[in-house]
C-alpha cells in the first residue's frame, strides 16, 4: 500500500514493515530483528506464519515420503488447489469487510450445473456460457448483498439461506439425470487439462519479475523526485531476488513434469489481479476502510452499502469461476459439484493464509498460500495412504491454529493499544 510495489505477500499492513520512516518527525528506523519482535508482540504478522508453516509441512511430508517434493506431485498439487483457491479469493474479499459468505460452495455447484446445461444440453458456445454463468452468479451475490445491506440481515444468515437454496436450484437445474459430462476435448475441460509450453512458462516467469522490477524502479524514481524516503537498495534486491527465485523454482519444477498448468496460471492471475485492485485502487482502499471502521468510512463519504453489495457480487462471481474450474477438472457437473467440503476449505484457506476473521486485515495471497497448505496436507496424506479421517483431523488442527493465531494477534494489537 505504501508504494506501487508493496510486499508481494502482504496486505496493507505490510506497509509499516517497509521500514523507512517517512514522517515529519522520524524517531529512527527500528532494526530488522527488533521490528520482527515488535510485530510478534503487537500482532502485525502478515504472511509469515503460513509461509513457515508450509515449509514445515513440506519438510515433514518429504521426510516421510520421498515422492512428496517431486515435480509430478507438486504439479498435481498446483492443479488441485486451483478451483477452491479461486473461490477462496472471493472469501478473502468478504472477510476483509468483516462479513462471511457461506453460500460460495453452493453457488460454485450451481455455476457448474448451469454451464453444463447451457453448453452441453443447449449448445451455447463454451466461452459465452462461462461469461453468462459468471454474470448470473454475480447477480446472485448482489442479491445477497442487497438483503444484507438494505434489510439489515446478518450476512451469516443470508448466505446460510443461500447455501441451502442455491444447492436446491442446482439440483433443479440438473434435473433427474443428475450428472452432465463435458466433452474431453472441449474448451471447458481444457481449462484444467492444458499445460503451458516450457518456453511459455519461462516467459511468464520472466515477465512477472521484469514487471515487478520495473514497477519498483519507477516508484523509486518518483519517490526521489518527490523528495520522499527511498527503499534501501538491499531491500529492493532482496524483494526482487525473492520473487525471481520463487518464480524460477516454480517454473523449473512444473516444467520438469508437464509444464505450468493453465489452471494455476489462472489462479495466480486472479490472486495478483485482485491484490492490485485491493491495494492500488480507491475501491480496494474502501474495502479495507469499511473492514476497519464502518462509521469512519461512512463519514469519509464512502458509499458503504454499494461497496458491500459489490463485494458480495464479486465473491459469488469468483465462486462461479471456481465451480467451473472444478467441473473442468472432473469433466462433469453433478449433484455433488460444490458440495462436500468445498465451502469449508475455501474459508479455511483464507484464514489459514492469514486473512483476519475480524475484517480489515488480509490479502488475496492468503487464498493461494492457505490452499497450498491444505492441498499439501491432502496430497501428503494420500501419499502416506491415510484416509479422509486423518486428513480432516489435521486440516482442522491447522485451521484451529490459524484462528488462534489470528485471535492472539488481535489481542496483541489491543494490548499494545492498536485496536
Amino acid at each position: 500500500m505504501s508504494t506501487v510495489n508493496s510486499d508481494l505477500i502482504g496486505g496493507p499492513m505490510s506497509a509499516s514493515t517497509t521500514g523507512e520512516p517517512a514522517g515529519p518527525d522520524t524517531t529512527g528506523r527500528p532494526s530488522g530483528l527488533r521490528a520482527v519482535g515488535r510485530r510478534l508482540r503487537t500482532g502485525e504478522l502478515g504472511s509469515w506464519p503460513v509461509v513457515i508453516g508450509l515449509a514445515v509441512i513440506w519438510l515433514v511430508f518429504q521426510s516421510l515420503n520421498e515422492s512428496f517434493l517431486t515435480p509430478q506431485n507438486l504439479s498435481n498439487l498446483a492443479l488441485q488447489i486451483a478451483a477452491t483457491g479461486a473461490i477462496s479469493v472471493g472469501i478473502v474479499l468478504v472477510l476483509l469487510l468483516g462479513e462471511i459468505d457461506l453460500s460460495v460452495g453452493s453457488v460454485s455447484g450451481l455455476a457448474a450445473a448451469m454451464l453444463a446445461v447451457f453448453a452441453v444440453r443447449n449448445g451455447v458456445p463454451d466461452p459465452a456460457g462461462i461469461v453468462v454463468v459468471v454474470l448470473i452468479c454475480g447477480v446472485i451475490g448482489v442479491v445477497h448483498g442487497l438483503i444484507i445491506t438494505k434489510v439489515g440481515v446478518p450476512s451469516f444468515v443470508v448466505t446460510l439461506a443461500g447455501l441451502i437454496g442455491w444447492q436446491g436450484l442446482q439440483l433443479y437445474v440438473l434435473g433427474p439425470q443428475g450428472t452432465i459430462n463435458f466433452p474431453y476435448e472441449g474448451f471447458v475441460a481444457r481449462l484444467t487439462h492444458t499445460n503451458l509450453t516450457l518456453a511459455a512458462g519461462w516467459a511468464l516467469g520472466v515477465v512477472a519479475v521484469v514487471c515487478y522490477l520495473a514497477a519498483i524502479l519507477l516508484d523509486q524514481r518518483r519517490r526521489r523526485a518527490a523528495g520522499l524516503p527511498l527503499r534501501g537498495t538491499r531491500q529492493v534486491v532482496l524483494r526482487v531476488g525473492t520473487l525471481a527465485a520463487g518464480a524460477a523454482a516454480t517454473v523449473a519444477v512444473l516444467n520438469a513434469w508437464q509444464g505450468v498448468p493453465l489452471a494455476l496460471a489462472i489462479l495466480v492471475a486472479l490472486v495478483v489481479g485482485f491484490d492490485l485492485v485491493l491495494r492500488k485502487t480507491r475501491y480496494g482502499r474502501s474495502i479495507f476502510a469499511i473492514g476497519g471502521n464502518v462509521e469512519a468510512s461512512r463519514r469519509a463519504g464512502l458509499n458503504v452499502d454499494r461497496i458491500r453489495i459489490s463485494v458480495f457480487g464479486l465473491a459469488s462471481a469468483m465462486a462461479a469461476v471456481g465451480g467451473i474450474l472444478a467441473a473442468s477438472r472432473v469433466y462433469s457437473a453433478g449433484q455433488q459439484s460444490g458440495g462436500n467440503d468445498v465451502l469449508l476449505l475455501a474459508i479455511a484457506a483464507a484464514v489459514i493464509g492469514g486473512t483476519s476473521l475480524f475484517g480489515g486485515r488480509g490479502s488475496t495471497y492468503s487464498a493461494l498460500l492457505g490452499m497450498l497448505v491444505i492441498g499439501s496436507i491432502t496430497s501428503g496424506m494420500l501419499l502416506l495412504q491415510l484416509g479422509s479421517a486423518e486428513r480432516f483431523m489435521i486440516t482442522g488442527a491447522v485451521l484451529l491454529a490459524a484462528v488462534i493465531l489470528d485471535s492472539l494477534s488481535r489481542r496483541g494489537r489491543r494490548a499494545s493499544g492498536r485496536e
Binding site: 523507512e20 518527525d25 468510512s297
Partner: protein
C-alpha cells in the same frame, strides 16, 4: 479583534419533539480565534455543533458566513462553505496507515491507481506544518497514541482547506501529555488564521487555549467571557446558572480550608 466574524449565528432554535434543545442561540467566530463552547450536559452544545455542521439543521434562526446569509441543510453544505468538524469518537480506520486515513474518501488517483507518492508527500507536508510528531506516515493509526490519533483526525479536517474547524471534546479521552499535544495543535490552527470552535468539559483546557468562552445553559446563551477577564467561578456560575451551587459551595469550602482562592489548578 478581527474586523468581521467569519461565521455568525443568531436566533438559532432547534426542537426535538417535546425537547427544546436550542432557543435563540447566538455564536460568532472570527478568523484566528479559538472560541470555547461550554455548558453542562444537555446544555445544547452538541446540538449547536450539529446545526453548524449541517447534521441537524436549525428550525429557525440566521446563519451568516462572511457576512452573507447562508443555509446549511446537510453536511455537504458546511464542507463547501469551509466548515470542518472533528467528532469526539475518532473517525479513523485503525487498520489503515496515516496517509490512508488522511485521504480516505478523497484519494489522489493517477492512471486509475492510487497516487501514493503524491498523497504521502502532501501528508508529510501537512503534518510537519502542524508540527505533529508521529513515527512515520506509513504506520497504521492503530500504532499511534491517543494524542497522535487525535492530531491525525484534526489534520484530516484541514485537507479541505476549511476556514472554521469545530472540535468536539478533542481531549476527552487523553492523558496529560497527549492533551498538551492537542492543545498545541489547536494554537497552531489559530496561528494559521482559522476560526476554531472548541467544545469541552474541561475548563483547564479551555483556559489554556481559548480566546473567548461562550456558555450555553438549557439551550440558551448564558454568558460570554473574554479569557483573562473572567474567573473560573464566573464561568462555572454561568454554566450552572446559580451563584450559589454545589460547585461554588465546594469551591468556597476548599478555599477556606486551603486559605487560597485558587482551586482550579
Amino acid at each position: 479583534m478581527a474586523p468581521a466574524p467569519i461565521l455568525s449565528l443568531s436566533g438559532v432554535s432547534k426542537r426535538f419533539g417535546a425537547v427544546q434543545a436550542l432557543t435563540d442561540a447566538e455564536l460568532e467566530i472570527h478568523p484566528g480565534e479559538v472560541v470555547a463552547l461550554v455548558g453542562d450536559n444537555g446544555a445544547g452544545k452538541s446540538t449547536l455543533v450539529k446545526v453548524i455542521a449541517g447534521v441537524n439543521p436549525a428550525d429557525n434562526g440566521e446563519i451568516r458566513w462572511e457576512g452573507r446569509p447562508v443555509t446549511i441543510a446537510r453536511p455537504h453544505d458546511a464542507t463547501v462553505l469551509g466548515i470542518a468538524t472533528v467528532y469526539q469518537d475518532l473517525s479513523l480506520c485503525d487498520n489503515l496507515d496515516v496517509v490512508g486515513n488522511l485521504f480516505l474518501g478523497n484519494e489522489s488517483v493517477r492512471f486509475g491507481a492510487l497516487d501514493e507518492i503524491a498523497m504521502e508527500r502532501r501528508a508529510s507536508e501537512l503534518l510537519s506544518s502542524l508540527s505533529v510528531r508521529i513515527p512515520s506516515v506509513r504506520v497504521p493509526v492503530a500504532a499511534l497514541s491517543g494524542g497522535q490519533r487525535q492530531s491525525v483526525a484534526i489534520a484530516r479536517s484541514l485537507l479541505g482547506e476549511p476556514k472554521v474547524v469545530m472540535l468536539d471534546e478533542p481531549t476527552a479521552a487523553l492523558g496529560v501529555a497527549q492533551t498538551a499535544q492537542v492543545l498545541d495543535l489547536i494554537e497552531r490552527l489559530r496561528d494559521r488564521g482559522l476560526g476554531v470552535i472548541l467544545i469541552s468539559h474541561n475548563l483547564a483546557d479551555v483556559k489554556a487555549v481559548a480566546d473567548r468562552v461562550v456558555v450555553l445553559r438549557l439551550g440558551r446563551n448564558a454568558g460570554e467571557f473574554r479569557m483573562g477577564e473572567a474567573t473560573q467561578e464566573e464561568i462555572v456560575q454561568a454554566i450552572t446558572g446559580a451563584s450559589e451551587s454545589a460547585v461554588t459551595r465546594r469551591a468556597a469550602r476548599v478555599a477556606g480550608a486551603a486559605g487560597t482562592t485558587e482551586v482550579d489548578r
